[in-house]
Structures are given as C-alpha cells and as structure tokens.
Homo-oligomer: 282 residues x 2
Amino acid sequence: MRGHGADSPCRPPVTPGGLKMLPEPVIGIVGGRGAMGSWCARFFKQNGYQVLIHDKDTTITLAELAEKASVAVISVPIPVTCEVIKAVGPFLGADKLLVDITSLKAESVKAMLAYSEAEVIGLHPLFGPDVEDIKGHNVVFCPTRGDKWLPWLKDLFTRAGAEVIETTPERHDEIMALVQGLNHLNTILMGLAIEKIGIETKDLIAFSTPAFRTKLNLIRKISSQDPHLYAEIIAGNPHLPSLFERYIEHANHLKELLEGKNSPEIVRLIQKLSLVTAGEKG
Amino acid sequence: MRGHGADSPCRPPVTPGGLKMLPEPVIGIVGGRGAMGSWCARFFKQNGYQVLIHDKDTTITLAELAEKASVAVISVPIPVTCEVIKAVGPFLGADKLLVDITSLKAESVKAMLAYSEAEVIGLHPLFGPDVEDIKGHNVVFCPTRGDKWLPWLKDLFTRAGAEVIETTPERHDEIMALVQGLNHLNTILMGLAIEKIGIETKDLIAFSTPAFRTKLNLIRKISSQDPHLYAEIIAGNPHLPSLFERYIEHANHLKELLEGKNSPEIVRLIQKLSLVTAGEKG
C-alpha cells in the first residue's frame, strides 16, 4: 500500500528491527477521526503508510486494528486515554509499537507499560491540528520500552522537518505545566478581564496596540478550539497548581507595587524579563 | 522649507484656520531626540514640514521653539510631562497648537489647558517607535480646546494611513488601563513565572508550542524597550488598580477550579472568551 517507489524521499531509510524484508508498518489510529487523530492519519498517509482508523462510528474493532496494524497510535481525549489503552493494549504483542499523543504523558505512558507488551513511546506533537506543515514545529518523544521502533519514528518526524526532543514523561509534564498549562491560564485570564470590562470588540480594535492585537489573537485561538482539551490540560497537570500559586503571588506583589506607585521596583521586575529571552533568536 | 510642490500628495489640503496664505506650520518637538520624539520628527519631516527639536543637548530654548513653531509637540517621559508643559505652555498664544503624545492623557491635557492659551489636542499614537509605516496603526485624538488645528492634524494622520479615533482624555485612560496597563502586567507575569522556573532558554524553545513562542515574543518586546516607560504606564494609570484587582480575583477562582479538577467550570469560563473576539476579523 506504499504510494512511493524505493527512491521516494518519503520512504523511511530505517525499517523497524532492521529487517529490510519485513512488510512496511501499517498504522492503526484509535480516535483517528478527532482533530489530532485526523492530523496523524494525514501525516502517516502523506509519508506513504497504510492507515487504519478506529473511532466511534467505524466498524473495525480494537482487536482487528491491533492485529492488522504494527503501530497503534492512541489519539483520544485525556480523560479516556487510559481506559482506551487498557482496552487495546493486550492485543498488541512485543513486536509491535504502542504510541499515545495526549498532551500529558506520565499517566498514559504508565498505562501503556501496564496494559501491553508492545514497545512504548509517549509522543506529544507540540502544535494544533491546523498545522499543515510540521516543519519547524516541536515533537516531544518519551521513549519508554524497546528500541526497535524508536529510530524509525524519530526519523519519520525528523525527515518531515519537525524538531524532535527526547525526555521522560515526568519531565515532559513538568515543562508542559509552564508551556501549556500556565500559558493558557495567562491567556484565559486576559480574556476574562476583557470580557468583564464590557468594551465592544470594535472599540477594542480601534484602541488596540500591536501587542494587544497579538493578545486578542491568542485569546481567539483558545476560544476557537475545543474548550475541553484546554480544560483537561489545565485540570489534569499535577505540576500546575504550585506553579499557578507562584503566579498569583507575583500578581499580588505587582498589585502592591502599582498601588504604591513604586515605579523603580516595577522597572527592576521588568529588567528580569531579559533573562527569559536571552540567547533566543528573534 | 516644504520639499513638495502644490500638487504633492503630502501637502495637507487643509491649512490651519483656513487662511491659505499663512505660512505652512513649523513643528517644534520638545523631547525630539527620544524614541517617540524621533519618530514624530521623522513623520512630520516625511510629510514635508519643517521640524525644530528641543532636547537635553540642543541649544534652542523653549521660548525660541515656541516663538518659531506654530505647533508644539510634547514628547517627554510621563513623570516630567506636566512640568515641561508648564515651562513651554505660556509661550504659546491662542493662534498656536499644543499637542502631547504621552501614554496617559488626563493629567497632561489638564496641564496643557492650565498653562497655555493655545489650542489643545491630546494625542496617543498606539504603537512603538519601531513602526516604520503608520498604515493600519491606531492614533487616539483627545481634542480639547479649539477647532482650527484639528482638521489639519487629523487629515495628516489619516492620509498617512493611520486609523484615527476621537475620545476624551478620561475615557482614553480607562481603555488604556486594559489595552496597555493590564496587557503589560499579563505579559510581565508570564515572563516572571518563566524566569522563576529556571528552565534554560534553549529548552524553552525546544519544548515550545506556537502559542508559547508568541508569548515569548511579547515578553521579549517588553524586555527590549525602556522599562521606565512600561513602569510609568502601569504605575501612573489610576484606573488600573481596580482592574488588576478583578484580574487577581479571576486568578484565585481559576486556582480553586484547577485544584478541584473542576473541568466543566473551566470549560464554561473558556467558552466566555468567544465574546471577546466576536465579530473581530482574523
């Protein structure tokens, strides 16, 4: 079912297990009609792979999917990820690969290790389903069991132009508490403040600065996607409450400074921000 | 000193006072070597006007500037704006125009009315000095005394492509508490959270989503400009403390929701955000 010849740039140079004569892997996507599931299906198809999809309204059972596919990708909402893994995992033997692409990795990777003998990679594509080209976007790998499938999957993403980084599920979730959880809370808070103040959108636009327009775009991005996904990323990350508590402490400190019109101390805090973006390319 | 003939597209169609035979206005900029002062000088020169500049290291006195110029533009830091207006205002007669471009308008406009007989327009270009082309950017006008100069100045900005909006100094400051004050505090808070967590910038980049990169860019924008300007906009706006207090109330509410893993209520709050950007173009 590969659509490309041997010289196709999309053909992976590494065959899983190094056995060149093995059939090309078939990819089974559980939740393949959801937003990121559809993205995954398109991505693997574009790279020449046969893709099987299981979703609410498809006829293929999880057992059939697990039998026909050598790679199972779990792409379902965070709250049901572990139970879906529990349902499909036992059908996947040690020669196969089990991957989940949820936004939190500790629990899902634990479940994959517990309910399957397959090789296990926790994966987190750090972009939304609207991304056409993966080039320049980040993908986090949490390789946890086995080493036969990892080079193939990394190579696939790397050759498509993604920036691949490896870490542990725990460290991933810690960093995502900042990059996703706190970042979303920060944007939501600005949105709620605007909503409460009751200025009409046309007035907001007429009085907006470039930085404010950028903030409005971030708010629009959140409000135009599935609110459940954001709520799960926020409520499900165990590292976020303590981070958000410190955020509120900073806010209370800033409130005192602005009530006391303490400009010099506000200047000092702003000067600290240069540390955040030091060494970063513009 | 105009560089254009009568048919130049840069020539203003409206001569102040409607007296076509009067000499073209000369623009005197107090603080003309600062960042926005330089922007103003360039803007007026590009539109064919003679520009005189007074700053710390220039030789022209305020009295000389006021005598030679028919339009005086005050472009100095917020904390010294009123005292500079007090110094130059008395030299400007009722036939002249006094304009300030500070980020807060209530106090500066009050000072211009108190210390000068000139016509008074409070002006706030809603962009930074790095903006090359004013096209599509917003400029707030607070016209307060006189009507001879207003059509000329509005026409100048409009023809250059700016979106001009008129309001009172008080309403301007209220809206800027949100668009500048709270917006900057929101960005600073995210920056402080990142700074405190102590993840190296290269790791932040490797784990970043598009939305997080956008946030990093906003933080970089603040940290690369004069921190005193931001501190003055924050500490000097009398409408900001109550707005920021409500922001912190929202934050405390969200903290409870995420500690209680109350996803449905977080979903409900996120759904409110669509009101903010409703009707806005993408």
